[in-house]
């Protein structure tokens, strides 16, 4: 949250600020605040700037109602993990659970005990969930390509359909007057894992021109203990190499009270798919995915004293190509699965915010999404149009009681799905500064994916949308003392998703999706972050613990959702040196819907420990990372090999 650098002739991103700051007088305060923040930022820069950024972010945002319905990831974390996929950042630093097939493999996110399909991903407000599958593979989102990452849950997900579990929102920063922007990072690690990340740009007066480009690849031929074969033996992972690259040019132009942004995010990847452990002898199989996409948008924003309007339009083109060729024992081809899927997606959004009286603010949005998928697994081209109207009212009923109510209506292919309301109430304690309690209700839905509807064979065009209702409560405490800053959040939720869609095998030899059951999820999340400064020392500790109980009608925990998972991070820095430790804990998981899961098919709990050491000098950062320090042998998905201890060095030059 680099507010200090985001000042652009007094045009802040309004969504980031509390509404009551937005009258003329308060603008001054805001600018003062920013100066304060900048001072903080500047003074911190020669030691270690990252932690000081966090403190500032907390101070500014503490009054927002939105903080109770989500959380913004620290810029320091985003910067530190810029060379990893987003899946890794989320599992290590957020309450989101990641189900991963290992490095270079699919990684999907689940919020609050729901599944990957219930995690909506927004990029500058546009849905990234593939219309065909309905999910996002977080291993294909490099942290490097984003400037901001925030999480939203409960009533925070009201702006769009689909996020029944939660929303991961990523966005690009707006900033000006920075001059030359150069950020180069090179990483090299075990298994010939290479990463090159470059940001080049120039921002002058009213313009910003920036290009991000990267390439990441790995042979990924780690050694693991194969317990899927008899006798158990050490083996090298085969056929798991990957190459990803991408480029994101960006242009921003600010004139008068307006801002135009044009961004184009392009990526390409080739990834081989390894066999499950017992099948390592199947050498006569070639399996890989070739994916590429181009996501483009243009946005126009105009600000006035009491409000703003944003009109934006996007065009996404995505190509997914999955190949599975099997051969007989004598090498003649048997099956050639060549699944091609091309998606063209258009989004049009108009979003207005207007301050009313006192603290009250209204936000209205209309959105039209047009999705079109051509796939050789469908019978022809399949389309979907969603027209959505949304309004939110936000303000303080009393000085310390905040209220936010939203209502959305979606029309899918000309048919109304219904009205979806949310409401959130918060109370800020007067005598205990920084303590706030809130409660929310939200009702949302998720459309079946186009695969669910039209996959041939099996697709079920009669599927109903999933319907989700959630109530949740949060207790937030955020306070900055002289040396210590505290940010903590305790939340509990209860949600019910009816008409839950599940693919079921049938006696027709193919699977068919059905609205099978009602799933009930409840749980709790605890988040804590402490930062302590002592002269030139800086200590920070943060962690998340999540309890998620998600069951179907028969009261069985859904598969691959751990009852407990947690992460923790500790960092100490001194005069440019830093040492950090990350813990990732995943509780026991079931892999089938059985009452008593047999121990061999249960995934045992595991804790992974990662350490890194870095030194900042001149304009360089050098870092050594050891992942899976204890060389833990584990499975994140049944019979999928995972790497043991690995090393990585990185060198970062930042102007």
């Amino acid at each position: 949250m680099t507010f200090g650098t985001r000042v652009s002739r007094g045009i802040p991103s309004m969504t980031s600020f509390p509404s009551k700051l937005l009258n003329v007088d308060m603008r001054k305060c805001l600018i003062l605040l920013m100066f304060f923040a900048m001072a903080f930022f500047a003074s911190a820069q020669d030691t270690i700037m990252l932690q000081s950024v966090e403190v500032k972010a907390v101070a500014i945002r503490s009054n927002e109602l939105e903080t109770t319905m989500g959380r913004r990831m620290d810029t320091s974390v985003i910067n530190r993990l810029s060379s990893v996929p987003m899946s890794q950042l989320l599992i290590q630093h957020s309450p989101v659970f990641i189900k991963t097939y290992g490095p270079g493999g699919i990684a999907t996110a689940s919020f609050r005990g729901t599944t990957a399909s219930h995690t909506l991903v927004l990029w500058n407000g546009f849905q990234l969930n593939a219309p065909s599958l309905g999910q996002v593979d977080f291993s294909t989102i490099p942290v490097f390509m984003t400037d901001q990452i925030s999480l939203k849950w409960g009533s925070g997900t009201s702006t769009n359909n689909g996020g029944l579990g939660g929303v991961v929102s990523i966005s690009n920063d707006e900033y000006f007057c920075k001059g030359l922007i150069v950020n180069l990072k090179q990483t090299y690690g075990s298994f010939n894992t290479l990463g090159t990340y470059a940001t080049l740009g120039y921002s002058w007066a009213n313009h910003l021109l920036r290009v991000k480009a990267y390439r990441a690849s790995s042979d990924n031929d780690f050694t693991y203990n194969n317990i899927g074969v008899i006798p158990h033996q050490k083996m090298k992972q085969k056929n798991a190499d990957y190459t990803d690259y991408g480029m994101m040019p960006e242009y921003q132009w600010c004139f008068g009270n307006s801002l135009i942004t044009i961004v184009s995010w392009n990526q390409k990847s080739h990834r081989n798919c390894p066999q499950i452990m017992p099948n390592v002898g199947n050498d006569n199989t070639v399996e890989y995915t070739d994916n590429d996409f181009s996501r483009n948008y243009i946005s126009f924003k105009n600000y006035w004293n009491t409000g703003k309007i944003e009109v934006k339009s996007s065009y996404f083109f995505e190509n997914q190509h999955y190949v599975l060729n099997t051969f007989t024992d004598i090498g003649t081809p048997v099956t050639t699965t060549d699944s091609k899927n091309t998606a063209n997606v258009f989004h049009q959004i108009a979003d207005v915010e207007q301050n009313l009286f006192r603290s009250w603010k209204i936000n209205a949005k209309i959105q039209w999404d047009h999705e079109q998928v051509k796939s050789n697994d469908y019978d022809g081209v399949k389309k979907r149009d969603v027209f959505s109207t949304y309004a939110a009212l936000n303000g303080n009923v009393l000085r310390n009681i905040g209220l936010r109510a939203t209502l959305r209506n979606d029309i899918v292919d000309g048919k109304s799905v219904g009205f979806f309301p949310t409401a959130t109430v918060s109370y800020s304690f007067i005598y205990l500064n920084g303590l706030k309690i809130s409660a929310g209700y939200s009702h949302n839905y998720r459309n079946p994916s186009l695969n669910d509807l039209y996959w041939n064979p099996g697709g079920n065009p009669d599927l109903k949308p999933e319907d989700g209702k959630t109530v949740d409560g949060n207790l937030n405490f955020t306070r900055a003392f002289e040396r210590l800053s505290v940010e903590s959040q305790v939340g509990a939720y209860y949600s019910q998703v009816s008409d839950w869609i599940q693919w079921k095998p049938t006696s027709y030899r193919y699977w068919v999706p059905e609205n099978v059951s009602t799933v009930t999820a409840y749980g709790a999340e605890i988040h804590l972050k402490l930062n302590y400064k002592l002269e030139r020392w800086n200590f920070s500790v943060s962690g998340n613990y999540v309890y998620s109980h998600t069951t179907d009608e028969n009261d069985k925990q859904l598969i691959y959702i751990p009852l407990h998972h947690a992460n923790a991070f500790a960092d100490v820095s001194w005069r440019g040196w830093s040492l950090s430790y990350t813990l990732e804990y995943t509780g026991e998981r079931k892999t089938s819907m059985n009452d008593n899961e047999f121990y061999g098919f249960r995934l045992m709990p595991y804790a992974l420990h990662h350490v890194s050491m870095g030194k900042h000098f001149w304009k360089l950062d050098i870092e050594l990372k050891i992942n899976n320090l204890t060389d833990k042998d584990y499975q994140a998905i049944l019979w999928r090999a995972m790497p043991g201890r690995s090393y990585e060095v990185s060198l970062n030059f930042k102007l």
Binding site: I227, G228, V229, I230, P231, H232, I276, M277, P278, N279, G281, N282, N284, T326, F327, T328, D329, V334, T335, P457, K504, P505, T506, S507, Y508, R509, L528, L530, Y532, F539, V541, G543, I559, A566, A568, A570, L583, Y585, T591, S592, M593, N594, D595, F598, Y599, G600, F601, R602, M604, P605, Y606, A607, H609, T630, K632, D633, L638, W639
Partner: protein
């Protein structure tokens, strides 16, 4: 600072506590005693494709007890991906694992690993000849395999031009159904291929309706072939067909089912070769039917109605005629096996593994 210490210590405690648990794969447990004395049935559960959660159960029919996940307990490893069929020979149990493309040989009592034979393309069923060799059908090859059960080696591949599935023997001839044409180019899915077991060559191909998925031999040495009618429902009328192995002709009458509504699968015959049992019905709703081999037509009423159960396969105890039917439930949780008397009275019901697919009596 004290607070910080406390937190760090707490984190380390969580971290180390989780490390102490024993890896279940390192523990092997004694399996339910199976010996030459025990009488019962091995049940192979195929599991979910690519999950490698296939498992082996054994039901002791005298004690009325079941042991599950026996292979894993004995060996600390899974059977693999989609266990397909079983055979017993000379104190060893052979497990054909379709998705993993190998056959495991284990001790039939302790279930301890003995050998593994790879090199198949898509092995399906195994037919033990009794002389130390066995035929193995292959869904994705244009023929079938002959293997040595003792040495666990391939002897030869017998080319037939079509894929191979179910196998029965009459005299010195092996009748092999050609169920699918999906994987083998320029092949058929509507024949029974006759192999001369002395020369191991294809001697004749008998045309039957589409997709013959199961076969049995009756008291008259006639071969019964159950044909599902095609990959997609409604392609062709499913049928139950009788073949005279001498004339190698389809004997009238044919028993036709209704295309689109019927999907017959799973065929078994009692020890006397008098009564056929098969599964038929619609989508996830297969009933068990019983039919005398002398009957003039297929029965209208089921022997055991599905009543919400998802019947997946049927087998008959050759000793007493008890009928065992597997219930795959929703295909992702442990299934059941229900044991009925030959009169249809429920004798026992027990839970086994995910998608119980194959039963073998010892």
């Amino acid at each position: 600072m004290k607070k910080l210490h406390f937190i760090i210590v707490a984190i380390l405690m969580i971290a180390t506590a989780s490390c102490k648990k024993e890896n279940p794969q390192d523990v092997t447990a004694p399996v339910t005693p199976i010996s030459s004395e025990t009488k019962g049935v091995f049940i192979l559960n195929e599991g979910t494709f690519t999950y490698a959660n296939s498992s082996l159960s054994y039901y002791d029919k005298e004690a009325d007890t079941v042991g599950n996940n026996l292979f894993f307990k004995a060996n600390g490893s899974p059977i693999g991906d989609v266990g397909q069929s079983l055979a017993l020979y000379n104190g060893s149990l052979y497990i054909v694992v379709n998705g993993s493309k190998y056959i495991y040989k284990v001790d039939a009592e302790t279930l301890k690993f003995q050998a593994k034979l790879e090199g198949f393309t898509s092995p399906r069923n195994i037919f033990s000849v009794g002389d130390g060799t066995a035929y193995v059908s292959d869904l994705q090859r244009d023929g079938l395999w002959l293997i040595d059960l003792e040495k666990m080696e391939h002897i030869q591949f017998i080319e037939t031009g079509n894929s191979t599935e179910a196998m029965v023997r009459v005299g010195d001839e092996l009748f092999v159904s050609n169920w699918s044409n999906y994987y083998v180019p320029n092949s058929s899915n509507n024949s029974v291929q006759v192999i001369d077991m002395k020369t191991n060559t294809l001697v004749e191909t008998i045309d039957v309706p589409q997709e013959p998925n199961a076969m049995v031999v009756d008291k008259n040495d006639d071969i019964w072939v159950l044909c599902s009618g095609g990959y997609n429902p409604g392609e062709q009328d499913p049928a139950l067909v009788r073949i005279d192995p001498v004339t190698r002709e389809v004997v009238k009458p044919l028993y036709y089912f209704n295309a689109g509504t019927d999907y017959p699968d799973g065929l078994a015959i009692d020890g006397a070769g008098e009564n056929l049992y098969y599964l038929n019905g619609g989508y996830n709703n297969l009933n068990v039917y019983k039919m005398s081999v002398d009957a003039a037509q297929t029965p209208d009423n089921p022997f055991i109605a599905a009543d919400g159960r998802v019947f997946y396969n049927v087998a008959v105890d050759p000793e007493n005629g008890d009928v065992y039917v597997t219930n795959a439930k929703n295909y992702v949780q442990n299934g059941d096996v229900e044991r009925f008397s030959k009169d249809g009275e429920l004798l026992s019901k027990f839970t086994v593994g995910v998608v119980p697919c194959y039963m073998l009596f010892n």
